[in-house]
């Protein structure tokens, strides 16, 4: 359990990145032509990294499991992207963004990485605008901002509720330019199934062509994993159906340490589930909390009436409503960070105040915002501000312009009109702060293997602030990795092409084939989803919003048993040499079944509550998370040793020189 070296350069925090960039080795343009880089994943991180590396002159091979790079799940991010531009003049700065991110992450992130992130955030906005990303603008033609949970300034840039889509299409267009130039070779419908290590360095991958089933070898001088998070270990999450841990997990099994797997973000504003058949949960942007007020009834009697349908939400008078976030956290109110908001909702629902039939829903109410905006509009237009129906209409127009697509989405799914009646929401698994451990260069513990975006663990600590995931993905891909990878590749200018005939490739390929073979020939009795759902239930019950020692121990055992049963009894129809969606799922679930156990082990080891990790044993009398800074100010990086339960812990101590470690309070 030695202390892991993160390779953070010395010097003043503010100048670290600049000085570091000045001192690292560069690769000259002529030599870049002789160097190949593999990028796995085409979300914001992978897409932007592919495009930038290709611009620099490297030969890039990019892989995605979807039919086009444009479909990666970054596309679903709604709310926005943070940047310390201070266009609103409300006191924002690089330091403040850094401070908010470290505090929001409950002091479990690496200072130098976060500061660098805050530093390059402004470049992202400049870059994206230059690419033609249509951010929202005000009538003066300048960029508009909004505020987000956990912060006191407006620094979030947005494109209606489709910011992720617009940013991803920006990165996709940058990729397209390089694909056209032949600098990126794009492999759509390909899934990475193993990383190949030659002489201790990552030198390629084994991938399956998902259309033909062919197993392919691809070599490179470095491999970049940008394969996203592992929220789907819960079966139900806001992740895309295909989002998976396979690439990251295979890398872990080949020597990359997996850090903080238990840090999971449960997003407070999702649409509650409706039945057993449910395949995924739908998130609605946290920006809704800017204008929506969250409440449950004060009286159990009203809850009963709501559930049996004899009472409507709008019938409950103001005095009988419990705006519990405003009550508990007067300073931040409905804009507390995600983890706090989620746990508060769970607390109310566990206490029996859930407002729908499953008992797992709270109200998100826009009526006050509608009236407030309506009055403002009436005054602006010189109309009668006491005419309730007029004010309501005007207010609805404003709310529509801000959140129209989210309201429409809600109505399509739930079949209720959220302009008239409060929305129902419940927390759902959304983002995983944990991931592959990386150093300051974003390199994993395997030389030449990099991890960027949600796939790595680095910047968000134990909890991520809203609108920061997009920022991190693009920062890593556009502005950090392209520099740091050069430092490593400068040693490879004379290596020449890596042969795929090496025995390491052969071994990795035959291992992959072996696993696929055993899956299709298993002829068991249960479908892949059967196991995935069971795993999801264990994870949600024992490793969800609140965890206990007892529950985690049980989870580790249950998951191991389930995994054994999976390998004995899973039924994967179809063959190897064809498109086989069940086989794809089976491979992913097999990896989730291993990750889940490590997840529980990590949560068990961390005897404190911080951010997205809440242990019931470690709470204040009021039920707030209680951190243990003395014993747990470190990153848990796990080394694979044959079984998830046997993983060995390596610690990276976290040092906070530039920020005072405080109790996180939003009261």
């Amino acid at each position: 359990m030695g202390n892991l070296n993160s390779g953070v350069p010395n010097g003043d925090l503010k100048n670290k990145w600049t000085n570091y960039k000045d001192s690292i080795d560069l690769v000259n343009p002529a030599n870049k032509r002789n160097i190949d880089v593999i990028v796995v994943g085409t979300g914001l991180a992978g897409g932007s990294a592919s495009a930038t590396l290709a611009e620099l002159g490297y030969n890039v091979k990019t892989f995605c499991y979807q039919d086009s790079p444009r479909r990666a799940h970054s596309i679903a991010a709604q709310g926005g992207i943070n940047a310390a531009k201070n266009y609103q003049g409300d006191g924002d700065s690089t330091y403040r963004l850094f401070y908010d991110t470290v505090k929001g992450g409950d002091y479990r992130s690496r200072e130098a990485n976060v500061y660098r992130l805050a530093e390059v955030s402004t470049n992202i906005i400049d870059q994206c605008v230059a690419q033609g990303v249509p951010f929202a603008r005000d009538y003066g033609g300048l960029l508009d901002n909004r505020s987000f949970g956990g912060v006191l300034v407006s620094r979030t840039f947005y494109a209606k509720g489709q910011t992720g889509q617009q940013l991803l299409l920006g990165a996709y267009s940058a990729m397209n330019r390089q694909i056209a130039r032949g600098k990126i070779k794009m492999y759509n419908r390909h899934e990475m199934l193993d990383v190949v290590i030659v002489d201790g360095k990552a030198r390629g991958i084994i991938a399956r062509n998902l259309t033909t089933g062919e197993i392919e070898r691809h070599s490179a001088h470095a491999v970049v994993l940008a394969s996203g998070g592992y929220g789907n270990v819960y079966f139900l999450s806001t992740n895309a159906m295909g989002s998976n841990v396979t690439a990251a997990w295979k890398a872990h099994k080949k020597g990359a340490y997996f850090a903080n797997p238990c840090y999971t973000q449960i997003h407070p504003t999702c649409i509650p589930r409706s039945g057993e058949y449910q395949s995924k949960l739908t998130l609605m942007s946290e920006s809704l909390r800017n204008d929506g007020r969250i409440w449950v009834p004060k009286n159990k009697k009203d809850v009963e009436s709501l559930r049996n349908g004899s009472l409507k939400a709008t019938d409950i008078v103001e005095e009988d409503r419990d705006y519990y976030l405003e009550r508990r956290y007067p300073a931040f109110g409905n804009l507390v960070p995600r983890d706090v908001a989620s746990r508060a909702a769970k607390e109310r629902c566990d206490a029996g105040f859930g407002v729908n039939q499953t008992g797992e829903a709270v109200f998100l109410d826009f009526s006050s915002a509608i009236m407030r905006y309506g009055k403002e509009q009436a005054l602006l237009k010189g109309l009668d501000e006491n005419d309730t129906s007029l004010v309501k209409n005007l207010g609805q127009e404003i709310v529509k312009s801000k959140y129209g697509n989210l309201f429409q989405m809600y109505e399509k799914i739930v079949d209720e009109n959220p302009y008239e009646t409060p929305m129902m929401i419940y927390p759902a698994v959304h983002y995983t702060m944990g991931g592959i451990w990386v150093d300051y260069n974003l390199m994993t513990s395997v030389p030449g293997l990099y991890a960027i975006g949600e796939a790595n663990f680095s910047d968000h600590g134990a909890n991520r602030l809203g609108a920061s995931a997009l920022m991190q993905g693009l920062a890593d891909g556009y502005f950090v990795l392209p520099y740091t990878i050069g430092d490593y590749l400068s040693d490879d200018i004379r290596t020449g092409p890596i042969s795929t005939e090496l025995k390491e490739f052969e071994e990795a390929e035959s291992k992959v084939k072996e696993q696929l073979n055993s899956l299709v020939n298993n002829n068991g009795k249960h479908s892949v989803d059967y196991y995935h759902k069971k795993l999801g239930k264990i994870m949600w019950d024992e490793c969800g919003m609140a965890r206990t020692e007892e529950g985690l121990k049980k989870a580790m055992e249950d998951i191991k048993n389930l995994r054994d049963d999976f390998w004995k009894n899973v039924n994967v129809p179809g063959g190897l040499d064809e498109m086989n969606k069940e086989l794809e799922k089976a491979g992913r679930v097999a990896d989730f079944l291993e990750l889940g156990e490590l997840f529980a082990k990590d949560a068990l080891e961390r005897n404190e509550s911080c951010g997205g990790h809440f242990r019931e044993e470690f709470a204040t009398p009021e039920g707030e998370a209680k951190r243990n800074d003395k014993d747990y100010t470190y990153v848990s990086a796990w080394e694979y040793k044959g079984e998830p339960s046997k993983a060995v812990l390596h610690k990276e101590e976290l040092v906070f020189d530039n920020i005072e470690v405080k109790e996180r309070s939003y009261k």
Binding site: Q66, D126, Q127, L143, S173
Partner: protein, 249 residues
């Protein structure tokens, strides 16, 4: 509710394929259409029948991966939704539902309901970008003010998810709405003006090369587009194309 399903089955790209009948019981009206297919697939697996392959990913209407031509309409009978957002409450007990892949020669069937839409990507390679490097030294984002109306129109065009519903529902299998959305987005922004002329010519050329049909302005694409991309974009592209030819020719 109980439903009869007629679903296109095709083993691979070379197989001839045919419509096959299925039945499904106890479908909840709150299910999404794809969840209904999930349930059907689970039943098929239990019976030892190979499940139906279909594309899907985000299941929240934004990735553009899901497709399906349902009862003669791309993404089914509801408007402004993708198939993953279509709910079974749009159907009645006893209904027969035809489920087919998006059809166009430019979108060959890969398997069952899965089609190959890479032609769309290739059109983007031909010019769907602004040539700017990620130096981090571009000018400040607020250096060029953009009129809100133009910014909003560019955004509206940019919301295209590239699902291909426009091609699937066009009687000519034309990709005009898709191509025009990208051309419009950039034509409306000052950053995009610099290369606007080459862009429109190259993208239109590529579109033809990929084997899409010609636009005859039936407007079916706009109606079936899950994101409501406007025909104004096609008009704008025609204008851009004309002006590019006049000034460049």
């Amino acid at each position: 509710m109980n439903l009869k399903l007629k679903i296109w089955r095709q083993k691979d790209a070379n197989d001839k394929g045919s419509m096959v009948d299925y039945e499904i019981q106890n479908v909840s009206e709150h299910m999404s259409f794809l969840e209904m297919l999930d349930v059907l697939n689970e039943e098929l697996i239990d019976k030892g029948i190979e499940p139906i392959a279909f594309d899907h990913d985000c299941r929240e209407g934004i990735c553009g991966m899901c497709s399906l031509y349902i009862n003669g309409e791309a993404h089914g009978p509801d408007r402004r939704v993708t198939t993953c957002q279509l709910h079974m409450r749009k159907f009645k007990d006893g209904d027969t539902i035809y489920i087919e892949p998006f059809r166009a020669n430019a979108f060959p069937v890969v398997k069952d309901l899965v089609v190959d839409r890479s032609a769309f990507d290739r059109i983007q390679h031909a010019g769907g970008y602004i040539s700017v490097n990620t130096s981090g030294n571009t000018q400040d984002a607020n250096a060029i003010p953009i009129p809100k109306d133009n910014a909003d129109l560019a955004f509206d065009a940019a919301t295209c998810i590239g699902c291909g519903a426009c091609v699937a529902s066009c009687k000519n299998s034309s990709a005009m709405l898709y191509v025009s959305a990208k051309v419009s987005q950039f034509a409306l922004l000052p950053q995009g003006q610099v290369e606007a002329k080459d862009r429109v010519l190259n993208m239109v050329n590529k579109m033809d090369e990929e084997g899409f049909g010609n636009c005859t302005n039936t407007g079916a694409c706009e109606v079936q587009c899950p994101k409501g991309i406007s025909l104004d974009n096609i008009s704008r592209m025609n204008r851009e194309f004309l002006s590019a030819n006049i000034t460049k020719g």
